[in-house]
């Protein structure tokens, strides 16, 4: 890490980075483990209490979760050693979170709360009026790229942060393989949150947003909730893992009896997502699991298709998929890997990162450290 040469005193704890998205709030918290006895004595009580609360729990309230498996241990940031914790909770819980900031008297701490994502703008006034906190608002795409490059650099506790799928077109021999993102640029960065943003990244500071689509993680969950009555992302994915989308989707072979050779379309390709659902008998014969699966496949294939077209138009071969839609979602990661490989005839490679949705928050934290330096 290169940001460590300044004086540690300038960065008052606690160190937080926050990314307030449409569905989820992502929070990274740096827990210093090199606190001297002297420091500990000077530490105010509410700072200790925050640290204890965050590090001794893995769940906060009804909906907050710490992704323990993602924790980066013994990380050195700005000359301090510590653990980086990854916490998420639904954006709906923002009012309660702000309330907590007031209760813990966060404003008395000598820190800046760096926040990115749309919520940094939306909740700015609430933070100010309810908790007397001034947010440092940061652009979400800047943060995303900075955080991503940082985590990739420091690695995942000695392992690479990045992975891909070997033999993506063969379900039997398809395996996840770690890799290094050594030649980062150019890359097409596909961030799948509630919606999807697609960026062409040429260097840390040179990127453009190519396009985006409103068919993202929020669409998957929203449709699943309406179609199956499920309530959470986990539930939806669990159902999807058990379903069969071919009961719901109309395949090429359902129309042509086999492959559509004139156009080189395989019989197993989906011709019409939810196409069977035009017909009452079929509607009556499918399960909720089938519907969840079809929703997942539809959304994933569509993102893959748009990403692939963008990659071709931008002449970029590496496509990096991030965002919380991919959390615990091997169906989608494998499908994306397959789609990139198959439709580009091996020209494109899909890459994934272990800390899927947290890069924006990490980028925000880094901005905090940079800001302190400037002071």
């Amino acid at each position: 890490l290169k940001i460590e040469d300044t004086q540690p005193e300038t960065h008052a704890f606690p160190w937080f980075g926050m990314d307030i998205g449409g569905t989820l709030v992502k929070l990274v918290y740096f827990e210093p483990v090199d606190i001297t006895a002297e420091e500990e004595q000077e530490e105010v009580e509410n700072l200790k209490s925050i640290r204890r609360y965050l590090t001794s729990n893995v769940a906060y309230g009804k909906t907050g979760v710490r992704d323990v498996h993602l924790e980066l241990r013994n990380l050195t940031m700005c000359g301090r050693t510590g653990n980086l914790h990854f916490i998420r909770f639904p954006t709906q819980a923002m009012p309660r979170f702000i309330q907590m900031g007031r209760d813990k008297n966060f404003s008395s701490l000598h820190t800046t709360l760096c926040a990115t994502g749309g919520g940094a703008y939306k909740f700015e006034n609430d933070f100010r009026t309810m908790a007397d906190l001034e947010l440092l608002k940061l652009d979400e795409l800047d943060c995303l790229i900075r955080g991503l490059l940082y985590i990739d650099r420091v690695g995942f506790n000695g392992h690479p942060e990045c992975y891909y799928f070997q033999n993506p077109s063969d379900p039997n021999s398809c395996v996840k393989k770690p890799c290094n993102l050594d030649n980062h640029f150019p890359m097409l960065l596909v961030n799948i949150g509630s919606g999807v943003s697609i960026l062409a990244v040429y260097s840390e500071n040179n990127y453009k947003r190519v396009t985006g689509t409103s068919l993202g993680g929020g669409t998957f969950l929203g449709l699943c909730c309406l179609l199956t009555g499920c309530e959470t992302f986990e539930e939806a994915l669990e159902m999807a893992s058990k379903g069969d989308s071919t009961n719901v989707d109309k395949l090429v072979k359902d129309i042509y009896g086999g492959d559509y050779e004139r156009f080189g379309l395989q019989g197993s390709a989906v011709a019409s997502s939810f196409g069977h659902m035009m017909c009452k008998e079929k509607r009556d014969s499918i399960s909720k699991e089938d519907l969840a699966r079809a929703t997942l496949i539809t959304i994933t294939n569509n993102i893959g298709s748009i990403a692939r077209m963008c990659a071709v138009n931008e002449k970029i071969e590496r496509v990096v998929f991030v965002g919380n839609f991919l959390r615990i979602n091997t169906v989608s990661t494998k499908l994306l890997a397959y789609a990139m490989d198959f439709w580009s005839k091996g020209q494109l490679r899909a890459l994934f990162l272990e800390h899927e949705g947290y890069f924006g928050a990490v980028g925000a934290l880094m901005e905090l450290l940079k800001t302190s330096e400037d002071l």
């Binding site: 109309k250 035009m278 748009i306 077209m309």
Partner: protein, 772 residues
Amino acid sequence: MAECGRVDSNTSSHTMDKSITLPPDEIFRNMENAKRFAIDIGGSLTKLAYYSTVQHKVAKVRSFDHSTKEAAGDKLYEIAVQEEVTARLHFIKFENAYIETCLDFIKDHLVNTETKVIKATGGGAHKFKELIERKLGLKVDKEDEMTCLIKGCNFVLKNIPHEAFVYAKHADSEFRFQTTNPDIFPYLLVNIGSGVSIVKVESEDKFERIGGSSIGGGTFWGLGALLTKTKRFDELLQLASKGQHSSVDMLVKDIYGGSYACLGLTGDLIASSFGKSATADKEFSDEDMAKSLLHMISNDIGQLACLYAKLHNLSRVYFGGFFIRGHPVTMHTITYSINFFTKGEVQALFLRHEGYLGAIGAFLKGAEEDNPNQYSWGENYAGSSGLMSVSPDMNPMQRARSGTFDMLEMDRLDRQLVNLPLLQDPSSYIPDTVDLTEDAQAREYWLSCFEEALDGVVKRAVASQPDIPEAAERAEKFRQKYLHKLQTLRHQPFAYGSLTVRSLLDTREHCLNEFNFPDPYSKIKERENDIALKYYEKAVKSLEELSWEDRQFALVRGVLAGNVFDWGAKAVSDLFSLKVIFMFCFSSDRPWLVDSFDQWLERLKGPPHRCALFFVDNSGVDIILGVMPFVRELLSRGTEVVLASNSGPALNDVTNSELQILTERIAAMDPVIDSALREDRLTLVQNGSSSPCLDLSRLDKVLAMLVRERQTDLVIIEGMGRAIHTNYYAMLSCESLKMAVIKNSWLADRLGGKLFSVVFKYEVPAGAGKPH
């Protein structure tokens, strides 16, 4: 008309009530001569195509032999009404529920059964194969759906003016028709059926499916049926048009509290479709969910289409398939999406006859031996029902059309039609001066004007066939038909493309032909021609007595004066005094409303033109005493002249065959004309049209060839129909002269003049070098 119950297209049951009766007068016309069939069976609609011949009456003129001239009395030439057989393509669209009834009807009426196979395409073709083979005794020959679609698309783009349009929901006219670009390739066709196919078409035979998506019409329908209580496609669309998507979708402002300004994303942009529906404690209305679904799918298709258009560098993108099929709701959302994703660089184009493409293509596949592509075809306004769609809210009547039969008829034209080579920019040429689809005030005037004139037209039609007792009955049928067309156009001005004075005139001609009134003016034309001929020599003589400069002016006045004596504009009896003709006092003296006579005169002092192409107008005084002396002067100057007249009759316009006879008669009196004819310096050609107006992008190929060969450097267009209603703004690459007298007070007012105002527009294209 049979009362037709709606059938859920979803159940696709083809066992239907046998008591459904068809209105045979209206549909399956000319079935007895039908010889080649194709059928396109889709998810809910069947499209049948057949080729047939139509026998109808045409008026032919023939010169009498000199030996028998005495016997013919004082008749100038012989007018004979003959039967002529022409080829016509019929396309009929009906709900799948009618298939069996329709097949029975076809079988009963099919006289000429040399046909052995029927070409079939569409998803439903295999399902009805057995039924068709059993009912018709024809072998069903399946054709690839996409190939048919593309073939059909090429055919309509080439042959139907105003086929493609841009849809603009909130504009004054929802439909903005595109000018026919002679070069239709390359283009992108996005076919939105249950899934989406994106096809790049590079030439008549070369096309490639470059991509597609599984999120299409089937996704809208399927998900819509799951999410709402509505199970039918059309009703889902209606539901969607009433909903508010912002209660279901997560918008940028829901995340940001406002816009995401630095990326230029507005607050109302959808960030996540259905993003709000993950909150389980909320109920969403069917309308809102349907709307959100519609936006999601339309945006997605639009985005993919743009990505493919960009990758292949294509700017013309046509959308078709059952998701579009004239539904204003989907045309609007797709248009919106395309505008958003390309920032206006690409326009979403739709087709008037989109629903027929598969059937047309399948038919063409089967008719390859007849080489239909080597002919030009024209939409027959009398037999086609036109585009029906309007916003469902605007016209509740529209839904009632479901259960009726839509028709498209195309006539094979005798002549192959091409662009006038002298058009400055063929791709931007618009024949018509006023688009009545966009100009509501003008539309109202002209529709009423044509309605008021109808009685006169009917009377004239009856009078033209005094010896035929049932003429009155036919004329009445004509009246009903044309009146109905006018009413349709009042409600749906865009039904046949851009509504123009030309299309109103052409529709009337088509309807007259439909009821066997091929040339109601034939006898009047003959009488006028005969009388005018008697004055020709005198007219020429008096012109020759004038000084050169006076003569040039008199010649122009002669053309204009001749043009005033349009039938209906003045009583015939007023006509025949030379004084009246040549000293005709226009209600406005020079300067005329548009007056570039001085420039013209100046030009005449220079070297002669190589060759002048003259589009003539009326018969009688106009052609004989106005145009001919003018032509004679051009010839005397050393300019070759090509006289272009109508191939078929329209009002009192002189036809090519009439003009042949007249010119011979004039040549007999006038050595100048005679030698010019013999030396090929004066040539008569037909323009390929039977319209009182003139479309310079659809002219006889022979004419175009001649224009090129002769190195034509002057185009003269005469008369209100050809120089005012059409071509007033036409830009030519050579010198042009547009001459007309405005014989309609409304139009005169519009152009800022009075009744009988004169337009004399002489134009030299910018950048054209001085002629030498």
